[in-house]
């Protein structure tokens, strides 16, 4: 079955972002497809390459990246939510004249249309709130 996930929570603000990762990993291990993960609102922080959690805590950004590599996942960060919160790729950083880009490898910036597309092309959308 084809799943998509919408993630609204930042890695360290609630358990929700970790739940989303757990769910994604389990469904892939069960042989289901993950069409897209759409990170929205504070969820955009899951794609920040400069987050540096202590070594004895879960590194969700790194774990998403590993999963992305293993399954060639489509990890999409809402571009409007990301601009407000300071998650920028190089192109956006230059365009908006900001001093640094911090979008983690394996993630992409795109518009809300990608969420609508995910809903249209998946059998299930599971939302992980904040």
């Amino acid at each position: 079955m084809k799943f998509s996930l919408a993630v609204y929570a930042a890695p360290h603000s609630s358990q929700s972002a970790a739940s989303a990762l757990r769910f994604a990993r389990t469904l892939l291990e069960q042989g289901h497809q993950l069409y897209r993960v759409f990170f929205y609102c504070d969820g955009v922080h899951n794609g920040s390459a400069i987050a540096a959690p202590p070594q004895d805590e879960a590194n969700l950004v790194g774990q998403w990246q590993a999963l992305q590599k293993q399954y060639s996942l489509d990890l999409v960060i809402c571009i409007a939510a990301a601009q407000r919160r300071g998650v920028l790729n190089r192109r956006e950083a230059e365009r908006l004249e900001r001093p640094a880009a911090n979008l983690a490898e394996g993630f992409e910036l795109a518009g809300l249309g990608q969420l609508a597309d995910a809903v249209a092309n998946s059998d299930r959308l599971v939302t992980f709130g904040n």
Binding site: Q15, S16, S19, T26, Q30, R124, L125, V126, N130
Partner: protein, 93 residues
């Protein structure tokens, strides 16, 4: 039929109450994260919907007892439950 997922404690959020208000015959309720606190105290006695599931890992992480009539799931069971219901509605406000 709809699977309702609640991840907030009923003692701090209206998420569960709002979920109950739109619960229809054939729907199912899944309690995850702090939502499992609905299994405690007077709230547990007032869950009038069925079936009710909860994530075992989240229940254990909070040191709670599993009341009778509630089905606990591991992560595999969680995914399977999501394949059996459509749509899946998350309540988190």
């Amino acid at each position: 039929m709809t699977l309702h997922i609640v991840n907030k404690s009923p003692y701090s959020s209206r998420a569960l109450a709002d979920c109950f208000a739109s619960f229809a015959d054939g729907d199912a309720l899944l309690l995850i994260e702090d939502g499992v606190y609905a299994l405690t105290g007077f709230i547990a006695d007032n869950i009038a919907v069925a079936p009710v599931y909860c994530l075992e890992a989240d229940v254990r992480a909070r040191g709670l007892q599993m009341p009778k009539g509630i089905q606990s799931l591991d992560d595999t069971g969680w995914v399977k439950l999501c394949t059996e219901h459509n749509p899946i509605v998350s309540w988190f406000q």
